[in-house]
């Protein structure tokens, strides 16, 4: 799944975050976007996921304009992992992961349970599936966000500062899972990173500079 962003403008009220920004990601590529403080990395990923509207520009996911895609199509193609929050506090961890699948796909319950269990065991969160959201720490929140994305099996995975707070060993393990996922499925990964994060799996690293996305 490719991502093509060109002539991209994004801002909120008086604050302009991106002006004429562009980035190109081919199918199966893993790309990191190194971000600083409040420079718009999260908003950029959310725009790519169709969550935040942008003012101007072209944003094509696999050649389709994200603004023209019906919700079911966006769901099947793109998944966004929140850096913080991202879960509904009324539901347990399991329901947070299962509900999007139940909502969009006609999978039977047994299939959903197996798929969630498989991903949860990979990410080592199987023992917190029945927890409430308020019982999770920041790293667990990010892992649950990732699990929810992986069970959907998206073609474009957008991960926001996923590595924050992880130990080096855990970081390498999670990155290896992501690399394997992209290799096996041909999915693309765009991951924002911050100081101290690993870029070891990335084929290219970009950074945000003067409201544009430039190659590091």
């Amino acid at each position: 799944m490719s991502l093509h962003v060109a002539n991209f403008y994004l801002g909120f009220d008086e604050l302009s975050l991106f002006e004429d920004a562009a980035i190109e990601i081919a199918a199966g590529e893993i790309v990191c976007l190194a971000t600083g403080v409040l420079d718009g990395g999260t908003s950029f990923l959310k725009a790519c996921a169709g969550i935040v509207p942008f003012q101007r520009g072209t944003l094509l996911v696999d050649g389709d304009d994200i603004n023209q895609l019906p919700p079911e199509q966006i769901f099947r193609k793109v998944a966004y992992c929140y850096e913080s929050g991202g879960l509904v506090s009324l539901f347990t961890v399991y329901n947070n992961i299962a509900l999007p699948l139940k909502y969009h796909r006609n999978f039977d319950n047994e299939f959903i349970v197996k798929r969630i269990q498989f991903v949860a065991e990979q990410l080592e969160i199987a023992d917190i599936l029945e927890y409430d959201v308020h019982q999770l720490n920041d790293v667990q929140l990010r892992l649950v966000n990732l699990a929810r994305a992986l069970v959907i099996r998206p073609r474009l995975l957008l991960a926001d500062e996923l590595q924050s707070g992880m130990s080096p060993a855990m970081r390498e393990k999670i990155l290896a899972i992501l690399k394997r996922y992209c290799n096996e499925t041909g999915a693309s990964l765009l991951m924002t990173t911050t100081a101290g994060d690993s870029h070891s799996i990335a084929e290219r690293v970009y950074r945000i500079e003067n409201k544009k996305i430039v190659l590091e």
């Binding site: 969550i51 929050g85 009324l90 796909r105």
Partner: protein
């Protein structure tokens, strides 16, 4: 002065417009119920809502119905001539005062105080912490997941509360009557009451429950939608929605009763 009046009227007009829009949106989102998997999600949320709103109100509903039923009968004895069989009068009095007016009003107040405030706080919290956005990010409809169960559970809960309230207050009234007239059987008393309940009575009670419950739900949803970025927005939403719900529900009750029994 004219400016202030204009702003107030504009606010009232926008409020009614918002409630109508919310009603239209809720009805539109009901289309998801045709999708079997989504219907299961709705059912899960609806059962949770019905349990919290209707079932868990049984305790307070029973307590108030016991007090109202017994107190009214006790006070009635004070004004009735002694030694006279008054079952017809009791039944008539009961239907007019309790079943027509007090039952719906008190059940509505319990629903507003117990459940509507809780829903406004709960959904206001979800709005404050951007949890509606989380659903949108999964391409799920927050209206369908959170609002539709409230919209359907509130009227049904209110109807069940009416029925329960009436049943308990009839029983408690009968117990008080027994103190004065041990010869009166419950069957005779109940039959006398049921004989006074006409089809119109049923239609008006249903209307009060269904229209009133839906409006209470919609008003909660409207005010939780106003929660922005501050925690105090939730308190303000609860306060404003409770006021609006009480005014709306009392007005609806008075209007429906006047239309049905007076005109």
């Amino acid at each position: 002065m004219i400016g202030v009046l204009g702003a107030y009227l504009r606010g009232v007009f926008n409020y009614f417009l918002d409630i109508s829009g919310l009603l239209a949106l809720t009805i539109k989102e009901s289309r998801h119920l045709l999708h079997p998997a989504r219907r299961n999600i709705f059912w899960m949320m609806f059962k949770r809502q019905l349990y919290n709103t209707g079932v868990r109100a049984i305790g307070i509903n029973t307590a108030i119905a016991l007090i109202i039923g017994s107190l009214m009968m006790a006070r009635l004895y004070a004004v009735l001539p002694p030694g006279k069989s008054m079952v017809e009068f009791y039944a008539n009095f009961f239907v007019i005062v309790v079943i027509r007016e007090l039952g719906p009003l008190i059940s509505g107040v319990i629903l507003i105080a117990r459940s509507a405030t809780a829903i406004t706080a709960e959904l206001g919290h979800l709005k404050l912490y951007n949890e509606f956005e989380v659903l949108k990010a999964q391409q799920m409809s927050p209206i369908f997941i959170f609002l539709l169960p409230v919209f359907f559970a509130f009227p049904l809960s209110l109807l069940l509360m009416f029925i329960f309230f009436n049943a308990v207050s009839i029983s408690s009234a009968y117990l008080v009557i027994l103190l004065d007239d041990p010869s009166l059987s419950f069957t005779v008393f109940l039959s006398a009451i049921l004989a006074k309940i006409t089809g119109l009575e049923v239609v008006i009670t249903l209307s009060k429950a269904l229209i009133g419950g839906s409006l209470i739900g919609l008003i909660s949803l409207h005010f939780c939608g106003r929660v922005a970025g501050r925690f105090t927005d939730i308190s303000r939403a609860i306060s404003s929605s409770t006021t609006a719900q009480l005014i709306t529900f009392f007005t609806l009750n008075v209007v429906l009763s006047l239309m049905a029994y007076k005109l």
